[in-house]
Amino acid sequence: MEPLLQGLAFVLQPTTLLWIVVGDIVGIFIGALPGLTATMGLALFLPVTIQIDSLTAISLLLGLYFGAVTGASIPAVLFGIPGNPNAIATVFDGLPMARKGQAGIALGGAVIASFIGGLMSTAALLAASPALARFSLLFGPAEYFSLAVASLTIIASVSGSSLLRGVVMGAIGVLLATVGIDTMTGVRRFTFDNPFLASGIGLVPVLIGMFGITQALDDAARSRDLHQIVTQQLGRLFPSLRQLLGMWRIILESSWIGTFIGLLPGAGASVAVVLAYERAKQISPRPEEFGTGRLEGVIAPEVANNACIGGGLIPTFTLALPAEAAAVPILAALVIHGVTPGPLLFTSQPHFIYAIIFAMIVANVTTCIFQLGGIRVFIKALSVPPTLMPPLVILLSVLGAYALNGWMYDAVVAVAAGILGFILKRAGYPLIPLILGLVLGPMMESEFRRMMIITGGDMTVFVTRPLSLLLLAAGAGSLIRQLVHQRRLAQRGAVSP
């Protein structure tokens, strides 16, 4: 009990609270600006934290982390540009909701969902850290490969009207991911002796291009009136309690998906949000309305991406193994301050862990308050004439892509991806499988090849390891279900014309 109170007392000190709030506000801005990622913000703030004591430093970073992940939902809903890769799925229903005049509920719902997801994963961190940490070590190359195959198959088969188109787009994404230095042999692929191409085609520039620029071009082409979104009265921000309670299963399952994917080094929040979105679609009584502006479609990914934070921190604290890229600077902050992460941390310095847990809870609460409080200001600042909207979105996208590394190359990739995305979208090809292919391609390829090096070319390992087999079966299952579904539709169409 005493360490618990010590931890609580520490977090409730005015200076700690102040630093958490500073982290939050900076984080929300970083999250809201496309191109600035949570990882980047944390890395840039790391030197600041060297000057202050370890717990305050971690609290500040946690505030920034939660802020950035939550803030990314703002441009996702209002402009259709995810501020961070973890907000890709928030766009699917967030933007249509804004178009229907429900921007307030979408933005508010996203914050509430983030809050719940953050708290759920904090609870997981508190309750089962050492036990859950072992789970992340159960995942070897075979399991990662199968996870990538399963996610890609599931997404390809459920997004868009045609299974074939989904699979083709997924494959194009995987192909694009092969550009750059091959991580297994160091061979440069499709780089044309260009040092930027040697770094590969960045996920974030493609993301910004295919959401931001594609959307802007699409709007410009349709000359759709975007003005209504930006100047509309936000009205209600809070979804009703009944609405939220009605989604208990989606919220619970999204929390689990977020926490578990967060545990796995290398899988990442962008995978978790897409999986949570698809799962929500399966649970929902009206799956066909997803993508047209359903609140569940915003809630599920926003619960999942904040749950990923807690999930990712579990192996960071208990195994010194940063599962999420953003956990690397947090681990570095621990090490710089002479705190040795590991299971011992839980027994030798329990007050430290409790303080971190309380800091996470406080960070969750304050992020929620500040983002909800600031939303109206944010929107007011954006009351621009309708014809200016598409150029503004394109400007933000190009700037965001450039800000990523300070490379013009990334801005060029974003513009190219935007134009390509526009053409593909017009032709009726879904873009999500392509982006997920880009995310999962490197993992799928390198884990497969790593496994082949270790087993000496024996491929049976993918079906003899139970977890791997289970994942492959899930992928195959969704493929078959979609095939059967399509055949049935075709038959029905033939019988009753």
Binding site: A43, L46, P195, P265, L319, T340, I453
Partner: protein, 319 residues
Amino acid sequence: MRRLIALISVVLLSMMIPGGLSASQVWPEARPVSIVVPFAAGGGTDIIARQIQRAIQRFTEAPIVIRNMPGAGSGIGTNEVLRAKPDGHTLLLSGTHTVTATLQGLTAGSIIQLDHIASLNWDPFVIAVLDAAPYKTLQELVDAGRQAPGKITIGHAGVGALTHLTAEALNKAAGGPWTVVPFEGGARLIAGVLGNVVTSGVFSQSEVQAQAGRLRPLAVTSLRRTTLFPATPTTTELGFTNIPQGSFRAISGPKGIPMEVRRAIASSVARAMNDPHWIQYARESGLVKTYMANEELERYFAVLTLDLSKLLRQVGLMK
């Protein structure tokens, strides 16, 4: 009135010129000095760069700024410095990574197109296995590999990086008993060894220290035993030859910096390395201090280039 205003402006403007600037000081001028770190913020090299930056800043008026320019195995940041004006205001956190990047053609110029000014440290690698593993010494790991070919694996943190060359060099020196397995970064490699995907790995000292009790260090790749692992033998003691000593880090700049500016930078680095904060940081991180400047460092880079090019050819990353 107008004259008075003019006079006041002149006085005020002259006050804006920093007082510390005198004719005898050749470096830095009264404008920012940027140190390009060719890796992302938060990584091992970045943390070292920020520590030395703070140490130099303590006695320098001009702001010293760290610029992270990651990409292409440190090639992007190196290119930025290769293109910069040789005035001592754009510097590179260079080292073994610069040698391997230039040798693999990831940069627009070779290692001799940089002026090497002062070295900072060696950061030796540690070969470690799971603490529950039956191998107590490096020799036992070699013997196990000889008895069951293909069964003993050694992981490293990235193709073309120094941990890769170290794994290959060790394997070659031992007669090739192991299978070398690449990972993407240190964190994945740790997960690989902890999860028993690979038998052993080439780690940085801080990584093994963070996993104390779960990873068992078998050897350190330094010439002498390090402060962090005094009980662990070095690869030299164990009779392994031609093994890289770990990551080497230095400060370099674009070719053509005037020699008096280079000397001034080198003496600032030397002074920073006597900073108590830096000394404490270096000791706690197990960094091996090494100070060489200008001509001596240029010669040392030539030796490093020769050694590493042999290893890169051996693994087929250089033709």
